[in-house]
């Protein structure tokens, strides 16, 4: 069963009179439990596609559905309030930069989503997730007191804390050395394998991309078949 379904999805940016089709009529279905890697040269549109599929950006054309919710159809996008709910319930995001709040401890950073949506049942997740990601001894540290690899693991924990069905990761190893990159790749692989979380990944890292069950290459905003 598909968790995300996109048909003829496009994103057009305007720079002055010039129209740039960052995503150009892409149709793709992503099933629950898939591990998908988008690869391609810089400017190929893989990050833009990730943002559209993760409901962070509005498409310019096409159709997009997440689970049973139609996000975009016939030039009509879902309202901001419903989009917020959708992001909260379905998605966890990991970025190249970790975006941790420097004044909060590791534990508090992991729990930031709870500040906006209280779900007592999920609080026990924190310890479990921290242990899974090897952060149990770092929970009271500030971000400046931990390594880059640990910071990315904190960002992954934060993305996981709401029990998302899909994790979207944009160059999650971009700021890490090869050893830390391998750790992160293994974590994402195990989340997909052991927990059935759908992973959608954008990366330049071939080793990381190879962890995915589906590797999709993009060029000029289109899928290469």
């Amino acid at each position: 069963m598909n968790i995300i379904s996109a048909q003829k999805l496009s994103k057009v940016y305007h720079r002055g009179a010039e129209a740039i089709r960052a995503v150009d009529g892409i149709s793709i279905d992503i099933a629950r439990g898939d591990f998908v890697s988008f690869v391609g040269a810089s400017g190929s549109g893989k990050t833009s596609l990730l943002h559209l599929l993760g409901c962070l950006d509005d498409p310019s054309e096409g159709f997009l559905q997440v689970a049973d919710t139609t996000v975009y159809k016939d030039d009509k996008a879902l309202g901001e309030r419903k989009l917020t709910k959708l992001r909260r319930e379905y998605f966890g995001y990991i970025f190249q930069k970790f975006y941790l709040i420097p004044t909060l401890t590791v534990k508090e950073n992991i729990m930031v989503p709870f500040a906006f949506h209280r779900n007592p049942g999920m609080r026990q997740n924190v310890t479990e997730i921290a242990t899974l990601l090897g952060l149990e001894k770092r929970l009271d540290h500030l971000p400046k007191e931990i390594s880059g690899g640990e910071m990315q693991r904190v960002a992954i924990a934060r993305a996981m804390v709401n029990n998302p069905q899909v994790i979207l990761a944009d160059e999650p190893t971009g700021n890490l050395d090869s050893k830390r990159s391998e750790e992160i790749a293994e974590i994402l692989n195990s989340l997909n394998r052991d927990r059935g979380i759908t992973i959608i990944l954008v990366t330049h890292n071939q080793d990381l991309a190879q962890k995915a069950g589906r590797i999709i290459e993009l060029r000029d905003g289109k899928l290469l078949v």
Binding site: Y13, I20, A22, S42, G43, G45, T47, S48, H51, G54, L56, D57, E80, R81, T84, K85, R87, R88, F91, Y93, F95, Q96, K97, Y99, I101, P102, T103, L104, E108, M111, V112, P113, F114, A115, F116, H117, R123, R158, N162, D170, E171
Partner: protein, 398 residues
């Protein structure tokens, strides 16, 4: 468990120096505001208390300058003009009058005051009527004189301290070589009576050679009296000046009005500067955390959550500043009062700055209100951040 309030508080600690400087501005503004409101409250209260403690509502003096008469009423002093004491009989015929007390103020040059000498003042009062009007006066030693012609004196607390006199001692009226026996020393009353030497008025008339003359008459009137009608009746008496309590209040209020407006303007400017400071601090903080706010939105924060987060930051800073400013104003109340007394043309006795809990709560409420107002624009800006714009500005790839 991080809450919006906790995240907001910790955000303020991120740029400590900036937050402390903003807090300092708010603290100073609150200090000015609380002191000003405390002054308005205290001045009014002290002035009313001074006037109520006069014991009478209307003062009759010889015709002259009304401001001079007001000064006479509030601070004592020797009138240059006299009323004949037969006026007492005329006044007692008015049905509105429920009490009368004649007063005679006289001064004598005392070469022993200071290095070059000074003026010693004496207030002649009627022992039968005056104590009934000044019921709040209490004695530390002795009591009131009883004979209106006796060469005796009752002295106020400060005058007794200055003259180093006790009951049974004698007080010399310089130039006249007359000694007054001290029969009573008053407790501190917080009024001008503390510095006064009271003498039976008929004795004082004789000593100073002004028999049959008075400088003023205090009139206590019935509570239902129409003051303007009563004043008109009094002006039918020849060569009199009528000073009512309301006139005195209004005269003094006019005198200090300019100073009050000036202080109010300073407070307003201080509040405005603090408001701009808060807005600037919070706006800077929003712009610096643009991407972070976008990420929060991707984690499920709604526009309202972000608005609340930023708004809370401005409220926290104003609440802390408000509390610190209120404490500062209480701590510096004595110094502020001394400064105000130095500036004002006339200050009543008693506390000029009256700070109570409702005033503090009201002031903190105003400051928090300013925080809420100042935070609206930065919070609105933050709430409008789209996650994609924030992320794209950082990732740089399309």
């Amino acid at each position: 468990m991080p809450t919006i309030n906790r995240i907001a508080y910790k955000n303020l600690r991120r740029k400590r120096l900036r937050s402390i400087l903003t807090l300092f501005g708010i603290t100073l503004s609150t200090w000015v505001l609380v002191s000003l409101l405390g002054f308005n409250q205290g001045y009014e209260k002290s002035l009313n208390s001074d006037i109520d403690n006069l014991g009478f509502q209307v003062l009759l003096t010889a015709k002259g300058c009304p401001y001079e008469a007001a000064t006479l009423m509030m601070q004592g002093g020797a009138g240059l003009r006299y009323l004949p004491d037969s006026v007492l009989d005329d006044l007692s015929e008015h049905p509105e009058v429920i009490g009368l007390t004649p007063m005679l103020m006289q001064v004598a040059f005392d070469p022993h005051i200071g290095d070059t000498g000074g003026i010693a003042a004496y207030t002649g009062v009627d022992p039968r009527t005056f104590p009934g009007m000044k019921t709040y006066l209490e004695f530390a030693q002795g009591g009131w004189f009883e004979d209106p012609e006796a060469l005796e004196a009752v002295i106020g607390y400060e005058a007794a301290e200055l003259e180093q006199r006790e009951v049974g001692d004698y007080l010399l009226i310089p130039d006249h070589d007359v000694e007054l026996k001290v029969v009573g020393i008053l407790k501190r009353s917080g009024t001008q009576d503390d510095g006064t030497v009271f003498v039976p008025y008929k004795a004082l008339q004789k000593v100073f050679g002004v028999e049959g003359k008075l400088t003023s008459i205090g009139i206590r009137v019935d509570k239902d009296t129409n003051y303007s009608e009563f004043e008109e009746k009094l002006y039918e008496l020849p060569d009199v000046q009528v000073v009512s309590m309301a006139q005195v209040k209004s005269t003094i209020s006019n005198l200090v009005g300019t100073a009050r407006i000036m202080v109010m303007s300073i407070a307003l400017i201080a509040i405005l500067i603090a408001m701009i400071g808060v807005m600037n601090t919070i706006l800077m903080s929003v712009l610096e955390r643009y991407q972070e706010i976008g990420i929060m939105k991707s984690m499920g924060a709604s526009a309202m959550h972000i608005f609340r987060l930023i708004w809370t930051e401005s409220v926290i800073i104003c609440l802390l500043g408000g509390i610190l400013g209120a404490l500062l104003s209480i701590g510096l109340a004595a110094a502020t009062e001394a400064l105000i007394r130095y500036i004002l043309p006339y200050s009543p006795k008693g506390s000029l700055i009256y700070i109570d809990l409702p005033l503090i709560l009201r002031s903190i409420g105003i400051i928090v209100g300013i925080g809420l107002f100042s935070g609206i624009y930065p919070a609105y800006r933050a709430a409008r951040v789209k996650p994609i714009e924030a992320i794209r500005s950082s990732e740089g790839e399309i």
